[in-house]
Amino acid sequence: MSLQMKSSYNNELGQWELVAKGEVDISTAPQLREYLDGAYREKKADILLHLDELNYIDSTGLGVIIGAFGRMQESDNRIKLINPRDNIRKLLNITSLDRILCSDH
């Protein structure tokens, strides 16, 4: 029941690469918010959030991502979710968030 995050700035592509591993729920969502906001504060650029190793996310985590999306949109930056697992893809689909957050849409 924990979340591990890694972030690095890709100079070549001029974007953030963030990796989320574990679970995002009400107890770990603040940590996700801190990583997203921290990276964006350091450098205003697009964020790619890699979800290959994320097992679980719920509305609190999706809320954090929506919040970041909104703040980044003001400066014309995007946040993209990469490789969500089937269970997470299903949630993104029923909430229609895949249309604005997933690159394959």
Binding site: S59, V64, N87, R99
Partner: protein, 138 residues
């Protein structure tokens, strides 16, 4: 023939994951497939999160999760004493516009994932969410 299991949980964020694990283990042994177990897991977690987020400031106070398994279904009731809210004021979140809002997704997700959902809330008292998932018949 059904069995009833009851849990009483302090309204703290760190225990939502414990409930999620317990219920998914129960749903798994009740014969639900992986996708249904995931659905139940998310729905229960959303309901607990609602209690913890919107509940009483006194997080020591417990809420109850009751599960009835058997007869080809699982019925989960989550009951809190956190003051209730006006269910008529709940609005489906607008996520397909370009400016989705940050909150309000929980109930929407629960309704999308479970076969039946009933919410009773009494202002000044508390809220109870009852959700049912049926075993898929082949």
């Amino acid at each position: 023939m059904t069995d009833i299991l009851k849990f009483s949980i302090p309204g703290k964020p760190e225990y939502v994951g414990t409930v999620r694990l317990a219920i998914s283990s129960l749903a798994n042994s009740a014969g639900f497939d992986i996708e249904a177990v995931e659905d139940i897991k998310v729905a229960v977690s959303e309901a607990c999160t609602n209690v913890v987020c919107h509940g009483s400031p006194n997080r020591e106070e417990c809420y109850e999760v009751a599960c009835e398994v058997g007869d080809g279904r699982i019925i989960i009731s989550i009951v809190d004493h956190a003051g209730g809210y006006d269910t008529a004021k709940y609005q489906k979140p607008l996520t397909d516009c370009s400016c989705p809002k940050e909150g309000g997704l929980g109930i929407f997700i629960i309704k999308a994932l479970m076969d039946e959902v009933d919410i009773f809330s009494e202002l000044g008292m508390g809220t109870s969410i009852k959700m049912v998932k049926y075993l898929s018949r082949f």
